[in-house]
Amino acid sequence: MSSRKSEPDILDSRGPSDTRGAPASRDGADTLRTAAPAPASSGWADTLKANAPLPLAVLGVALLMPLVDSRWFGAYNARIVMLVGINIVLAVSLQLINGFSGQFSLGHAGFMMVGAYLAAYPAREISNRMTDPASTLWFYLSLAFVSAVTAAVVLGIFLLVRQSRRLHEAVPTLLLVAMAVWVVADLSQGSRHENPPAVFVWSKGIVAVQRAFAWLMEHGGPAAVNISAALPAAARAPVTFVILILGAGTFAAATGLIVGLPALRLRGDYLAIATLGLAEIIRILIQNSQPLGGALGITGIPKYTNFAWLYGAAIITTAVVWRIAYSAKGRAIMAVREDEVAAAACGIDTTHHKVLAFVTGAFFGGVAGALFALYERSITPGYFSIAKSIEIVVMVTLGGLGSISGAILAAILLTLLPELLRPIAEYRMIIYSLLLVFMMLLRPQGLLGGRELWPRRRGPRPRAAATQDRDDLETAVVS
């Protein structure tokens, strides 16, 4: 058929062949050379085959649900299982950012925090014990409206400042510094007044935003309550829950966009430091916000997250991240990771794909935060510190950058390990840390090293078809 030899042992290490051992890989090479062209694919069969893990995972959760919920399983064990689930969502979502797009973010706890707080606050204050989905939705819509207007104003000012570059190159920087001083001075003075005089434009602006939000809530509230009352009683709580999760995720994604647009211009260490700093800014802003409970956090959040909801969310997160990662979009995202200059030269919009990965990751980070808040019943700003961010990064790195199943494995391991080591009390964290050190020494590429447990679709179909008329082409075409 051809004079060239294919080398099965260096076939793509990410392929299914590798996880199944050598014989399978020789099989792969054979299909590659001899198989007759496969019949035209039927779309649905292909779709079903590619999605086989999904029903399996759902089945697994359904089977485990009675077990975990049972009294016999124990509250302590159940809690660990729940924390595993939340860490899976966090690790998988960060894998998209750190592993696939290669943008090393150290700020995932920041997005988790936005999600946690923006689920906890409406859950406690608005949702009326999870019975008022319409008001909860209205809360998010009002917040989105107010935020959008504010963002538009800030963006307008920013663009004006940027235009001033035409006067002189240094003008925008000077203007920004002057603006920053002005804003800080204004806010520090203006915030002393209940109703700041017009001199304090910025304080006035913030009060106006707050009032606009209050006005929206007040005037939309009664109608929303009526809508909720019209819903069947049994549907109210789950609908509220879903709205809380999606709303929190959306705002985390918006935060990701705002953080990402400037931060993603940086690379490597610089990006890591910038995301770290921005996550701290988020934490300190929330810590100093009185409506959000300040340093004490929010307590008395209704508890609604259970095993089924949490692991359902984990499955959806994994499926979405998987499908993005192993599609044309994911390929572009990985191309940007491999070589940004070459990707741009191949017509890939590098900024778009970096931001896409970042925002999607932030969304599911926020979802994890919301699930966490609605499980824990109380959250404090201290929980979402750098340490939490690093914990998630460790999971992703240990699992292997670019491996979704690796992130899941690592999330399970690293949540269980400290608990299993509990009997040895004070030596626990030493052993834990030593294990991490040895792991990185012995397997620097992580547990799975960029591979997946479940083979991602690499159909032999196009390759099989390709061998068909190779010979005449080779003679006709080259030489």
């Binding site: 051809s2 060239r4 294919s6 080398e7 260096i10 076939l11 793509d12 290490s13 990410r14 392929g15 792969g28 590659l32 050379r33 694919s41 779309g43 649905w44 292909d46 779709t47 590619a50 999605n51 499926a319 979405v320 499908r323 993005i324 599609s327 044309a328 979009k329 390929r331 572009a332 990985m334 191309a335 491999e338 070589d339 200059v341 070459a342 990707a343 741009a344 030269a345 191949c346 017509g347 890939i348 919009d349 590098t350 896409l356 670019g402 960029g450 690499r458 159909g459 179909r461 196009p462 390759r463 078809a465 390709a466 061998t467 190779r470 082409l473 080779e474 075409v477 080259v478 030489s479």
Partner: protein, 267 residues
């Protein structure tokens, strides 16, 4: 000249028109008054001693650098100052002097990245994986395999790019560039590091690509034999300045060129 101008404008009538482009790095004039015109189907060489500014010219055309002066037009539309992505979308693809493949992606994936612009799906369809998505993905993979087959890389489609032999990596880079469906292809020293036999194959390949895909090719190359035998026109650069333009024979006899390569004649 307006955007609405037809594909071939009065300015020489060529698809790609580079008009007296210069670029300075601080006090250094890397390229001065570089002009060149290229149509689909043409094969033009760009030669010159080391440091003559050849790669800088490529970087100016592909948007890596902004020209300090001059204009670049593609089908009558100005493209100088656009970012590299937009220039690729305008129909110019390139390879790199030091190979820049997506090392950890497979050979097929490398090529499919080039197809991405025509084969990418919306986010919703990517997540829902509709049958249409699978069909289109299969079609894109088939197109990728077809392209690999024409460049004799199909048997290695499943390999990770960094495991390819050197010559194959060069060809894969060309395949990836072709996947973006360019009208103009810029090859930056494609024969670097190849043995004579590989170079001979490469010459055939370049001619074949020109004929098969109908692209205009601008070629930077050090190997005189290759350039002289393959190119129809040659531009010679030295210290950023164009010292000769013409057919291979004309250029070979040009005293300035001989001087640039061999030094001044002994009086």
């Amino acid at each position: 000249m307006s955007d609405a101008a037809p594909a071939k404008t009065a300015a020489g009538g060529k698809l790609l028109v580079i008009d007296r482009v210069s670029r300075n790095f601080g006090g250094l004039a890397a390229v001065t008054d570089f002009s060149l015109q290229l149509d689909p189907g043409e094969l033009v060489g760009l030669i010159g001693p080391n440091g003559a500014g050849k790669t800088t010219c490529f970087n100016l055309i592909t948007g890596v650098y902004c020209p300090s002066a001059g204009e670049i037009r593609m089908a009558g539309r100005r493209i100088d100052g656009l970012p590299p992505v937009k220039i690729n979308h305008a129909g110019i693809a390139r390879t790199f002097q030091n190979i820049r493949l997506f090392q950890n992606l497979t050979v097929l994936d490398n090529v499919l990245v080039g197809f991405n612009r025509s084969a990418e799906h919306g986010l919703v369809r990517t997540i829902l994986r509709t049958p249409k998505f699978s069909r289109e993905r299969g079609a894109a993979e088939n197109r990728g395999m077809d392209l690999l087959r024409t460049l004799r890389l199909d048997e290695k489609a499943a390999l990770v790019a960094k495991n390819l032999p050197y010559g194959d990596q060069r060809r894969l880079e060309i395949a990836r560039a072709l996947a973006t469906a360019p009208k103009i292809l810029l090859l930056d020293e494609p024969a670097a590091g190849m043995n004579p036999q590989e170079k001979a194959e490469l010459m055939e390949l370049i001619r074949f690509i020109r004929d098969r895909f109908g692209v205009g090719i601008l070629l930077i190359e050090h190997d005189m034999k290759l350039v002289m035998s393959v190119c129809e026109r040659i531009t010679v650069l030295d210290h950023g300045e164009t010292i000769a333009v013409g057919t291979p024979q004309e250029v070979q006899c040009n005293p300035d060129v001989i001087e640039a390569y061999l030094g001044e004649p002994v009086a």
